[in-house]
């Protein structure tokens, strides 16, 4: 890239700010501040890694799904997550970084992914609750990100949002089914809700006052709503769903505020959040090891594909 003079770069910055103000999307070849590029790479690749690591807790139950319908569904959902990871790696690559580098950042533990996936899936009910709460929270976040100011990220989000609705509905179907089932099934689903509710609220990230990146990302239109706004929106959507399903959300302080029309909730255990983010969650090491193993034991597939491509090329050249 050629060096810009100070004057040129302030001109370009002005144009960039104008585009953002006007609600125009920034496209890969447009000029953008280096910091914008870096923040986007960090944010979109974290999102991509989350999709990839997110396959692990659910993959855990594919062989033990209770019937064929559930098994097919779960397989399709996990395959979607792989696809979502690929859409997002593809969006990140438009910022001038190779996927190989991103994968390396994940496998060496340099990059982060959503801390929700560092919790274990202990029962079949967890598959239902993940679809309902975890994918539900992801949808709230992603629906907002579909309007993000970076074109390729926005397009990936639109595609992902369309597919996530199936994820949430299949999860909610499992939850309502179990909640109407035997006493053991009801206990199982309630136990699962108890374990996943608070980590789901943490998915939106730290509270606005403790989120160092938020202000800048909001100013650039990369984020459209703050962490706390999105979290509140998720709670408001979920409380009636929990009531309808017949499960209890594990928060004695949950109450409706007539004035703000919000469901107010109790304090989040941020100590736990930071512990999990910094690598001390229940499954951090297990997840990393599973990813590394999957990557190295899949190496022969990549080598075979390459060998096949070379062979085909030789054949074509000879013909």
């Amino acid at each position: 890239m050629t060096e810009l003079t100070l004057e040129e770069s302030s001109e370009k910055r002005e144009l960039f700010e104008k585009q953002i103000q006007a609600g125009e999307k920034i496209e890969p070849k447009d000029w953008m501040p280096e910091r914008f590029r870096k923040q986007l790479i960090r944010m979109i690749s974290q999102h991509a890694h989350s999709e990839i690591v997110g396959m692990l807790p659910e993959g855990n139950w594919i062989t033990r799904a209770p019937n064929f319908r559930r098994k097919k569904t779960l397989l399709a959902k996990v395959q979607d997550e792989a696809g979502h990871g690929l859409y997002l790696y593809c969006a990140t690559e438009t910022l001038g970084i190779d996927r190989s580098e991103l994968v390396e950042q994940l496998l060496t533990g340099k990059a982060k992914y959503s801390s929700i996936f560092n919790y274990p899936t202990l029962s079949w009910a967890d598959i239902g609750v993940i679809g309902w709460l975890v994918d539900g929270a992801a949808i709230v976040n992603q629906t907002s990100l579909a309007k993000t100011s970076y074109g390729p990220y926005s397009r990936a989000m639109v595609r992902i949002c369309k597919e996530e609705n199936f994820h949430k509905k299949q999860g909610y179907e499992i939850v309502t089914g179990l909640a109407k089932g035997t006493p053991e099934q009801r206990d199982m689903v309630q136990d699962s809700v108890n374990r996943w509710w608070w980590p789901s609220l943490m998915m939106f990230g730290p509270s606005d006052k403790d989120s160092p990146n938020s202000k800048e990302l909001l100013a650039w239109g990369v984020k459209r709503r703050s962490n706390d706004e999105l979290r509140q929106r998720f709670v408001n959507l979920t409380v009636p769903q929990a009531k309808a399903a017949g499960v209890t959300l594990p928060d004695p302080e949950l109450r409706y505020n007539e004035e703000t029309q919000d469901w107010e909730f109790g304090p989040i255990n941020w100590e736990e959040f930071w512990q999990v983010v910094s690598g001390n969650g229940p499954c951090n090491r297990e997840r990393m090891k599973a990813r590394q193993d999957a990557h190295s034991s899949g190496a022969w597939v990549r080598e075979a594909a390459e060998a096949y491509a070379e062979k085909q090329q030789r054949k074509r050249a000879a013909a």
Binding site: K29, L86, Y87, C90, R155, H295, E306, Y308, E310, Q312
Partner: protein
Amino acid sequence: MTAASKENNCKTGETQWDLWEVFTQPKTGAPHEHAGSLHAPDREMALQNARDVYSRRGEAVSIWVVPAREISATLPDDSGPFFEPGNDKVYRHPQFYSVPRGIKL
């Protein structure tokens, strides 16, 4: 594969194959639209990967894959003067012409 990608290959075993841009046609009669990109070692596997990544729910009846490096594109910096010839010719639009009142054309 380039020398740089071979190097990456050694570090993580991640094969940085060629980048392909994917275009899908949602139904016959519609134009092919850019769906995204993917990596593949050749065009045959690029098409198969494109089907698995961009058409898991019948989103396409036809797929094109194009090596990303084969695409020529305008640059945002040049786009002003490049598109200029089309911008100052208002007479190319029907609103430019006046028609007597009451006549429907």
